[in-house]
Symmetry: C2
Subunit: 105 residues, 2 copies
Amino acid sequence: MLTNKNWNCSMSRVLDVVGGKWRMNILWVINKHKKVRFNQLRREVEGITTISLTRGLDVLIENQLIEKYDFETIPLHTEYELTEKGKSLMPILRDLNQWGKEWLQ
Amino acid sequence: MLTNKNWNCSMSRVLDVVGGKWRMNILWVINKHKKVRFNQLRREVEGITTISLTRGLDVLIENQLIEKYDFETIPLHTEYELTEKGKSLMPILRDLNQWGKEWLQ
DNA sequence: CCGAATCCTTGTTGATACTG
DNA sequence: CAGTATCAACAAGGATTCGG
């Protein structure tokens, strides 16, 4: 998404990680539940499709904001959970959300 | 960009406004100068082209985060400045930037 | 149940050239 | 100086189908 490395602030990297259409919302819902399974996530992030959810989770895992736990059972069972890094972003997400409520009706 | 209206938080609208590739950086530079002209902005937002700058400014003006002042002289002279709404976002941008520095090397 | 693979549509960004 | 017009390239998102 973003490639320019010469900026004088870290905003570009931040948006690389959480700037997509769904990613902040995915984080939001995971945070609400602490641990959450794939299909529950899909139900609660309203409007998301399985592929967008998969891609969003992939990016968040790559950047270590969340962790995936794979129980190798049949049927499959996976859980997603915030890492410390992910948790450290939540206060800012709350502020952003609050700002949106106050200023964007 | 974003169209889903049913989310249980305002994140989607926030990203509509400031989620683009350059927009937070444009805000950042405008804030640094208080008032700034087009070409100065283009020089300081490193890597941006005139068209991307124009588009970014348009979105920010539409959403009333910045204001444009047009001095109808020859040669042309314009200035951009943050509105109260734009200023109200700056603390959060600072936090995001700081988070990026701490967690994304 | 939890996804991956494929194919397709749309949105975003950019290069270049040009204008009042 | 401060943009616009046009065209091109690519990334993001989505529908559907398939598999362990």
